[in-house]
Amino acid sequence: MPGYYDISDILMEDEAVSVVFHVGANGVGLLDPGTETNSVEKGAKIDLPFWLAHELCRRRAVSITIPSCFGQKMKKDVQADAACVDLGTRYPYFYEFGCKLFPLVGDKSIGPFLRHTFANRYKEMLSKSHTASLNAIPKFVLRLSKEEYQLFEAARSSMVEFKKWRVRDLGLMKTTIVGHKRKTDLH
């Protein structure tokens, strides 16, 4: 798992989660926009960044409610068609966030849900990523979360590099290699 210095980890932990405070907290009224005094009441529902919620949860000062990205609507979307769910724009840190959230929240179904989503999207992504060319970015790339995008990029760049190597010295003979179009090619 990425650690303290990893940028994507830091960015991921900036996601907001909704928490319910178990204890009152003084001097941090900043967190709750609706409060008059400079403190947070017990039982208040507040949005905190994940890194803060994580620490407070460990000290049992708050309890985290499951954010909407792992809720019922998302589960229905994934069941309908996992590959079309737009993780890129809405929840780019979907998987990492889920993995971090999983031990803190009581809901045990998040883990298998993540895996199920990933497995379904992976199948779709597999063939497309290898045959995608360098310039044209297929639309489905915009729907990938950060982690999936890295996979896609790894496959694509190694394929592109291989192709470049192949036609390197050929000059005029390129046409003999460029070859048969197959249905999975996305040129």
């Binding site: 298998p112 992976y122 199948k123 996979l151 048969h180």
Partner: protein, 213 residues
């Protein structure tokens, strides 16, 4: 080594794989007279006109570029053999046919530099392309069957360049599946009343064979 930002998955670049492939031995027929070459990797020669001898591929290509030899095509690169291999590849959807480990690189070097020494060069070129495409599609379809339980993927008879192309993707995919699966497997075993037998470590053996570095 050409690496990516994630150094644990650094790959060889295609040119580096080619460099390693150039150590393969190949037969040439020199047309000049030259003394023996005593190199660290071995002694070659002396070279006499029209007497075939075996040298490393890099030396063969270098001599060929200077017009000092002609390269004899390796056996596996004949049209009949390649057609056989292509048929066999198309017939067996899960297995790869045995081919020399560096066949992609060797064939590319020979087709580029020694195309006048190869009989029916266009046929050979298109056959090799077809073989490569079929094998690569097999790899892809095999990869679709990886699930969370796969610990290793076995890809038998895959060549160096093909391995190099899929290596970063496959390594990351296995890592991602591992990350998603292991803690949850433990959790699942707690909640669901052990519906799966706890012989957890024997994931399904996917029968493609691979060398993950």
């Amino acid at each position: 080594m050409a690496g990516q930002t994630d150094h644990s998955l650094s790959i060889f670049s295609a040119a580096e794989v080619e460099f390693i492939a150039e150590d393969e031995m190949i037969e040439i027929v020199p047309n000049i007279r030259m003394d023996a070459l005593n190199l660290l990797c071995g002694d070659f020669g002396p070279f006499l006109p029209q007497i075939p001898c075996t040298v490393p591929l890099w030396l063969a290509v270098a001599l060929k570029k200077r017009g000092k030899c002609s390269i004899r095509t390796p056996d596996w690169m004949s049209v009949e053999k390649l057609t056989q291999v292509l048929e066999a590849e198309r017939e067996s959807p899960r297995e790869f046919q045995p081919l020399p480990f560096h066949y992609v690189e060797i064939s590319r070097l020979l087709l580029d530099h020694a195309h006048d020494d190869i009989p029916e060069v266009y046929m050979v070129r298109s056959l090799i392309e077809d073989i490569r495409n079929v094998r690569f599609h097999k790899v892809e379809s095999g990869l679709e069957t990886i699930s969370g339980r796969t610990h290793a993927v076995k890809l038998k008879n895959l060549s160096a360049m093909e391995v190099n192309v899929v290596r970063p993707f496959m390594a990351r995919v296995l890592q991602a599946f591992y990350k998603h699966d292991s803690p949850e497997m433990v959790q699942q075993a707690d909640t669901s009343a052990s519906k799966r037998p706890q012989v957890v470590d024997r994931g399904p053996r996917v029968s493609l064979s691979c060398v993950t570095c």
